[in-house]
């Protein structure tokens, strides 16, 4: 029974793989073909952000936080990946309306294609991140390999959020503005540039509802402190990612045949 399901999935993946690759190529070209420094800018932008934040916030928070640059960068790394992939993914379904209203293709492929782009971006910045860690005198341990876990979950979480957002965007086009306001507010409650130690315990627990904070904290724990979080922490991260992904998959399944009336 399970073997059949796996075979079914494998068939599906094989069938769609070619289309997926072509969509990724197309989106890649669409994004970078008219810019001169294109890809380079995707890396330069977050670095500039990091520099400014480091200069400004060190005065307020940096003196108490060890490895503040890494601390900041961990936050920005995760947050920017989330913010960028969800914003880009949100419009992916609507912008491919010309295709899916005429040809029967799995609609989630458009989102996957956008997410593939964002993931590549993220991995590039991740490399830069590790370089910065070196300069910040962070000790590299085998535990860094565990970072695969939050990264995979982050991919799932971003795809899930993207599925939900892109579905809502079809029906309500001002979702884009709501989301950009939401992500802006999220930057302030994700403890990107401050520590939560100064808050009372009750407030600290509230931070754990924020999935982005969870992923950021995981990175910081492994990279800066060299500690592996508890099992319950891992499970919480997993639960939140799976929850959002399931919601997104559900929405795509439910509204699959309704989308075309709204584009």
């Amino acid at each position: 029974m399970i073997k059949e399901k796996i075979d079914q999935y494998r068939e599906k993946i094989q069938k769609n793989q070619f289309l997926f690759e072509e969509l990724v190529k197309r989106d890649f070209k669409a994004r970078y073909s008219r810019t001169t420094i294109g890809m380079f800018w995707s890396i330069l932008n977050p670095l500039l952000q990091l520099l400014i934040m480091r200069l400004v916030f060190t005065h307020f928070f940096g003196n108490n936080t060890p490895h503040y640059t890494t601390y900041l960068f961990s936050g920005m790394l995760v947050f920017n990946y989330f913010s960028e992939s969800t914003s880009e993914g949100m419009t992916s379904l609507v912008s491919n309306a010309a295709i899916f209203t005429k040809i029967n293709v799995p609609k989630y492929l458009f989102l996957f294609s956008k997410n593939a782009q964002s993931l590549i971006n993220f991995l590039l910045i991740l490399v830069v991140y590790f370089i910065f860690c070196l300069f910040d005198h962070v000790t590299f341990t085998w535990k860094f390999l565990l970072l695969i876990y939050p990264i995979i979950l982050l991919v799932v979480f971003n795809i899930g959020t993207g599925l939900v957002l892109s579905a809502i965007y079809v029906f309500f086009r001002d979702m884009r503005y709501f989301w950009s306001i939401f992500t802006m507010l999220l930057t302030y409650v994700s403890a990107i540039f401050y520590q939560i130690d100064s808050f009372p315990d009750r407030i600290q627990k509230i931070f754990y509802i924020n999935p982005i904070y969870l992923y950021i904290r995981y990175f910081r724990k492994i990279v800066i402190s060299g500690e592996i979080p508890q099992l319950s922490y891992h499970l919480l991260m997993l639960a939140e990612a799976v929850l959002v992904f399931s919601l997104g998959a559900f929405m795509y399944r439910k509204y699959n045949m309704k989308f075309l009336y709204y584009v």
Partner: protein, 147 residues
């Protein structure tokens, strides 16, 4: 079973002022009562069965429901009543210009189109020259980036 069968297919189509609006507009329209969704039957009780090698021509006036029926056959829409069953794969040739991108070269566009229609990469690499040769005139009349 025949290659393609339609059983008592009836398809509802929706029209109204619900497209391209935001949440704000939706709420406003609901409150003021100006939000309307019209649904009508685009196709009613369609039945046919095609065997291998058959060709079926569907003729009708504007708005008769031809495209809607074809969309249901290809899976873009689903029948509100009845069902359509088929063996094998279905390729749609609805509106050939759709999906062409100015950013991409001819080769990339061809491959993307082929992928959308369900062909494999291997098939397209093998048949690429043939495809280009057959459509040479059309390609020359358009302008694409070099490649």
């Amino acid at each position: 079973m025949s290659v393609l069968e339609a059983h008592n297919v009836s398809i509802r189509y929706l029209k109204g002022n619900f497209q391209n609006i935001g949440l704000k507009d939706y709420i406003m329209r609901k409150i003021t009562g100006t939000y309307h969704v019209e649904s009508f039957w685009a196709d009613r009780d369609i039945n046919f069965a095609l065997e291998k090698g058959d060709m079926l021509g569907i003729i009708g006036t504007n708005g008769a429901g031809k495209s809607t029926l074809l969309k249901a056959v290809s899976g873009v829409m689903e029948p509100s009543i009845g069902y359509i069953s088929h063996t094998g794969t279905i390729s749609s040739l609805l509106e050939l210009g759709g999906g062409f991108d100015d950013n991409l070269t001819i080769r990339e566009n061809t491959f993307l189109r082929g992928a959308l229609l369900g062909y494999t990469r291997q098939f397209l690499t093998e048949k690429y020259d043939e495809i280009i040769a057959e459509n040479f005139r059309i390609i020359c009349s358009a302008s694409f980036p070099q490649g």
